[in-house]
């Protein structure tokens, strides 16, 4: 009997899962990969000698000092060794004002020898920023740094910053660069590329002049992924259209119409063979300029295009016109919000028909949804590209079409990217929610939504009573 019990105990021990402190170090490292650094140092430190040993040997810490408490900041700084850090985020914004000074009083930047990724947010003290960047610019330090992100749209950094940052960009290890700086850095007073860089992914939040794009592509021949808000053509001369006296006399309206339909030609942007992906986040270019851009970058395989507010070139909604432009691409995602002119002859059925051809449905399997509110059209590929969605007021002229009506899986996943939801409930109607994918997805998504409610109570009550009273099954 005793022997039997002993065997049972042994079996139980064999089949019961190990406790946390019994897990092999490799598994614990994997767990640490998923935890934020505050949790690691507050919850796991000094639990037992083994954990302390593991925490001191782990060397993939991601230090994110954005929105951190002063207590946690001091605690982490006292327990971590710089050579254990691979990712670092420093934010001197309103929540953590003065953190840079504090951080630099505790650490020398060049001691972060394993640093791969650095993010600097809202650092207005140029002296501290330059102190950090000078450490990075030294070719013999931080040799593993592959990603740098600088965010400060209000910056007025001077010449030293420009000199140092352009040197940083030539660092051989650097692959990803993200700049969200003041408007002039890519327009009137653009960053002056000094020599060739090895960057593969470049993001500029803002508008870039075409000339700046040209210079960028010359100095970054390795560039594969390029993300900007828009291209500015103001200083470009259309080689197909040098105005004659006769044209000068024609009405402004005629000139505008001609501009929308005719082909444009500018000095080449000399795209490299490596550029595979382009994102335009707030495009105001006319369709003819977009055509020119795409014809200039023939190697493009992925294209994401989001139009700027008040965009008004209806020809961007023409599926036939897009077919020849994106035929070689592997992925084409877009959100077009187009304001129609008063005399527009645009028609929802005609528009959606052009996205129902074998090219869109069978060959590429790119599906689109169309929503019409008064004089605004929103046409987007599925899944919806942006991380926010505006549930607009439905007008009497609201129309909805989709080429994915029979693709249930795509409809379920269509809003998975959406984290921020804007609801204008002032005049919402039931039919609007019945037909869009959107509501369905909200119930099925597991991600946390930050909801922005623009609620006007009385009108919402009308809407709710309609939903409750008439049809619940759609939800």
């Amino acid at each position: 009997m005793g022997n039997k019990n002993h065997k049972l105990k042994k079996i139980r021990k064999f089949i019961s899962p190990p406790t946390l402190d019994e897990l092999p170090v490799e598994i614990l490292y994997k767990i640490l990969d998923e935890l934020d650094v505050s949790t690691i140092f507050i919850s796991l430190y000094h639990v037992c000698k083994r954990f302390d040993k593991i925490l001191s040997s782990y060397n993939k810490y991601h230090l994110n000092f954005k929105n951190i408490s002063l207590t946690n900041f001091n605690l982490i700084c006292s327990r971590i060794h710089p050579e254990q850090v691979t990712e670092l985020t420093l934010s001197d914004d309103d929540d953590n004002l003065g953190i840079i000074e504090l951080f630099l009083s505790k650490f020398s930047f060049h001691t972060f020898t394993r640093l791969h990724s650095l993010t600097l947010i809202q650092i207005n003290n140029e002296e501290f920023l330059n102190q950090i960047l000078i450490s990075i610019a030294d070719r013999n330090s931080l040799v593993n740094l592959s990603s740098i992100k600088i965010i400060n749209v209000d910056e007025t950094y001077g010449d030293l910053f420009i000199e140092v940052i352009m040197t940083v960009l030539t660092k051989p290890s650097l692959r990803q660069v993200y700049f969200d700086l003041s408007y002039s850095r890519t327009t009137t007073n653009p960053l002056p590329w000094i020599e060739q860089c090895s960057i593969k992914q470049l993001t500029f939040r803002g508008i870039c002049t075409v000339n700046f794009v040209r210079n960028t592509l010359i100095c970054v021949p390795t560039l594969e992924i390029f993300k900007v808000d828009d291209f500015d053509f103001d200083e470009e001369i259309d080689l197909n259209h040098i105005p004659t006296h006769q044209e000068d006399d024609s009405s402004e309206e005629e000139n505008y119409e001609n501009q929308l339909t005719r082909k444009v030609q500018f000095a080449s942007i000399e795209s490299t063979n490596n550029l595979k992906s382009l994102t335009l986040n707030a495009c105001s270019m006319s369709m003819s300029k977009l055509e020119w851009v795409l014809q200039e970058i023939i190697t493009l395989k992925r294209f994401r295009l989001i139009t700027a507010p008040l965009y008004d070139d209806e020809s961007i909604l023409d599926g036939y016109r897009w077919e020849s432009l994106v035929s070689n691409m592997e992925k084409f995602q877009f959100v077009f919000s187009v304001n129609l002119s008063n005399d527009s002859k645009w028609d929802a059925d005609t528009c959606i028909e052009k996205f129902q051809t074998p090219f869109w449905i069978n060959e590429k399997q790119w599906f689109v949804t169309l929503e019409k509110y008064d004089d605004e059209i929103i046409l987007y590929t599925l899944p919806y590209l942006n991380n926010f969605f505006v549930l607009k007021n439905e007008s009497n002229l609201f129309e909805y079409r989709s080429t994915a009506n029979e693709n249930l899986l795509l409809k379920i996943q269509s809003m998975n990217n959406v984290h921020d939801l804007y609801i204008d409930a002032s005049n919402m109607k039931k039919s609007q929610l019945e037909v869009t994918n959107f509501v369905y997805i909200l119930f099925n998504s597991s991600i946390y939504f930050r909801i922005f409610l623009f609620l006007v109570f009385l009108m919402l009550q009308i809407y709710i009573s309609m939903v409750n009273g008439q049809n619940q099954k759609h939800f």
């Binding site: 002063l70 309103d94 929540d95 004002l97 409930a425 922005f452 409610l453 609620l455 006007v456």
Partner: protein, 169 residues
């Protein structure tokens, strides 16, 4: 309004920005239906209404912001009822008009408060209001600056234009 849950899973709402006037009782009901709410951004008008309704939100909020962009409503918050209504906040951005309000916030919310930004009135606006009063009175700016110097040394404080940033713990 609580029927909004027929289109949204309110368990998933983390941040609520309220822009329009909503009947107070309905707004309270909505807050109670959002168990995972972590941040609120609103206006002083709503606070007055919530106070009148004897509202109290006992769960800890990660942030509470009085919208600085709402130009119709830039009145300072009535601090005592505010601290009673929202006794647990980690990060706070709030307009005040006197040093005593700042002291009260630090004292009453000290359990969870990590950082606070007090938006203070500019001297200009105070001067307009008190044109006929004694001119040798300390300016508002000076009073706040003096108060900052009295704060414990372990706090990190900075006065930046019309804002006082305090990083407490």
């Amino acid at each position: 309004m609580t029927d909004i849950q027929t289109i949204l899973d309110l368990n998933n709402v983390e941040k609520l920005i309220r822009d329009e006037c909503v009947p107070t009782m309905d707004f309270i009901a909505l807050l109670n239906l959002m168990p995972n709410l972590q941040s609120i951004k609103t206006t002083t008008i709503l606070l007055d209404a919530l106070n009148a309704a004897k509202f109290c939100h006992t769960k800890c909020l990660r942030s509470f912001v009085i919208d600085p962009n709402c130009y119709d409503d830039q009145r300072p918050v009535n601090i005592e009822p505010f601290c009673a209504m929202f006794p647990r906040i980690e990060k706070l951005i709030i307009p005040v008009d006197n040093v005593d309000s700042c002291r009260y916030v630090l004292d009453q919310l000290n359990q969870d408060l990590i950082s606070v930004i007090f938006r203070i009135p500019s001297n200009d606006s105070v001067l307009i209001e008190s044109e006929n009063e004694n001119e040798d009175e300390n300016s508002t700016d000076d009073m706040f600056s003096e108060w900052i110097n009295e704060l414990p040394k372990q706090y990190r404080c900075q006065k930046k234009q019309q804002q006082i940033h305090i990083w407490i713990k």
